[in-house]
Amino acid sequence: MAAPARSMAGTPGARRRQAGRWGRRGLVQVTLIVTSVIFLLPLVWMVSSSLKGNADIFVFPPVLFPAQPQTGNYAQALSYIPFGTYFRNSAIVSAATVVGTLVACVPAAYAFSILRWPGRDLVFRLVLATIMLPFPVVMVPQYLIFRNLGWLGTLLPLMVPPFLGAFITPYFASSLAIFLLRQFMLGLPRDLIDAGRIDGAGNWRLLWHVVVPLSKGSIVTVVLFAFLTSWTAFVAPLIFITKGDLYTLSLGLQQYQSLHFTAFNYLMAASVVFCLPVLVAFVLAQRYFVQGISLTGTKG
């Protein structure tokens, strides 16, 4: 790669290259705009369809912006199915998942980073290994365990596993939370922790008063992912929730889809409301989502 230096301002070649650079810049810009439109269009289409009247929905070619937006669709959609009940169930399960993930994973991460004990790093490899464990492998035995505990017909099969660090999905698991928190805690300044120890603080006090306040950023990331994953989860509710009035939104919407296949405008309105909490979380905390995903990808 020893080409001669060939940059000489003002020569025709340089001018041509300059023009080429502008052309390339334009191409990058256009490609990005087209890509963004492709990725956003389904969501725009979701909102647009949710505002269409029954007469406008089955029209070909379809109209992107309905002439008379039917905001009443939302009230209709939400009373069509027990939306309030499903929303409440989803909220309960998500709250339990967030709290449970913190209760189980913050102390575990502390033990895997700040504390020293024989076999620590070997056991941590076990944590890493379980990140990849597919839920379908354990779903049948877990179903029977919960049945024997008499938990079927309640929300407990979704609420308890996070408290035991056994929240498993294809996207985010308790093990991943432990990993993220541990990576962060390993990077904390050792002097601060040693200073805490000299002051005579026990491990729990050290965790609560020194490590947790310093780890706020990674804790927020874990909270967001736990919320996002439990709010959108589908497989575990499908297997473990056996009563209609305990359905989460994922299950309710899925059932709505098969029952009222033609009422696409109502279905889209319900979907918009379903997505709303996640979108709000994203707008408020985009930085933490990006940080969390980046960290798992580059430090894994």
Binding site: A2, T35, F60, L115, P134, P170, T232, L279
Partner: protein, 303 residues
């Protein structure tokens, strides 16, 4: 001081760590280790939830090998894995490379491409069912502008898998892109500067600097992608919930068939054999990739 001070200290350290690990340890044993062992045991039994499991030896595994529907599900899963993983990585890397430049509206584009990754899979699948509607859907309308005649998409056995892949890629590329962007940030600027002085072309810089430096991140995306597609379930279930695997088993993936055996046919032993095969496959894929990655990372001169 006791005779073995090391042992005493180790025991003290363990005793101090145990309370912090207790919830996780109970979950690991009760909800992961015990289930994995149970699945192994059941895979050698005839079990329908109503009666106690009956030992049948390797019968379930022999039946699996002879079951054409099982092989259909394996084939469909391989199909989406072999197309979905490279497609996701290429588009994810492509968008990351574009966004890694100094372009106008960078934050907007990054957010727009990432947004579908946080949309609930069920909601995403539902809106796509509507987009892919053969008669009134948006996609056929867009294609008709280019004089493409309407396609059957999810209802057409030869298109159904690709249509589902489209849905999954839409919902997963954002995450792949973010990981690549993080990887690109870690490539030292001096390497590019040195290459520019040497007169390396854009392609040469990509081939000899960017790609090797991205090695670990690339492998991460491939491993996560392969493991995701091996257990692909959600969108496929939502789309075909009335008739799983429709049309004509063209979207019957591995875990959909596993679910059917367990909860529709109550063939728990058979489902357990499938679960154990999935477990071993995942394990093998993970171990294989990590062994390979260590070599690659060494190559790139990192670590």
């Amino acid at each position: 001081m006791s005779a073995r001070p090391g042992t005493g200290r180790a025991a003290r350290q363990l005793a101090a760590a145990l309370p912090f690990l207790a919830p996780w340890l109970i979950g690991l044993i009760g909800l992961i280790v015990v289930p994995v062992v149970l699945v192994l045991y059941w895979s050698f039994t005839n079990f329908n939830l109503l009666q106690a499991p009956q030992w049948v030896g390797a019968q379930n595994y022999q039946n699996l090998v002879a079951d054409p529907t099982f092989w259909t599900s394996v084939g469909n899963t391989l199909y989406i894995t072999l197309i979905g993983v490279p497609a996701g990585v290429i588009i994810g890397l492509g968008t990351a490379l574009l966004l890694n430049r100094d372009v106008r509206g960078r934050d907007f584009h990054r957010a727009a491409i990432f947004l579908p990754a946080i949309v609930p899979p069920v909601a995403g699948a539902i809106v796509w069912i509507w987009i892919l509607n053969p008669d009134y859907g948006l996609l056929n309308a867009v294609l008709s502008i280019f004089h493409v005649s309407p396609l059957g998409w999810l209802g057409d056995p030869s298109w159904a898998k690709l249509a589902e892949l489209l849905i999954v890629l839409w919902g997963s590329i954002g995450q792949i892109m973010i990981v690549f962007l993080a990887g690109l940030k870690e490539v030292p600027e001096q390497l590019y500067e040195a290459a520019s002085i040497d007169g390396a072309s854009g392609w040469a810089r990509f081939r000899h600097i960017t790609l090797p430096m991205l090695g670990p991140v690339l492998f991460y995306n491939v491993v996560v992608g392969v493991i995701f597609y091996l257990q692909f379930f959600e969108q496929a279930f939502v789309i075909t919930s009335k008739d799983l695997g429709a049309p004509v088993n063209s979207t019957l993936y591995y875990t959909i068939y596993l679910y059917q055996n367990a909860f529709d046919f109550l063939k728990m032993g058979y489902a357990a054999a499938m679960a154990w095969v999935l477990f071993l496959t995942t394990l093998a894929v993970t171990v294989l990739f990590f062994a390979f990655q260590r070599r690659l990372v060494f190559y790139a001169g990192e670590d």
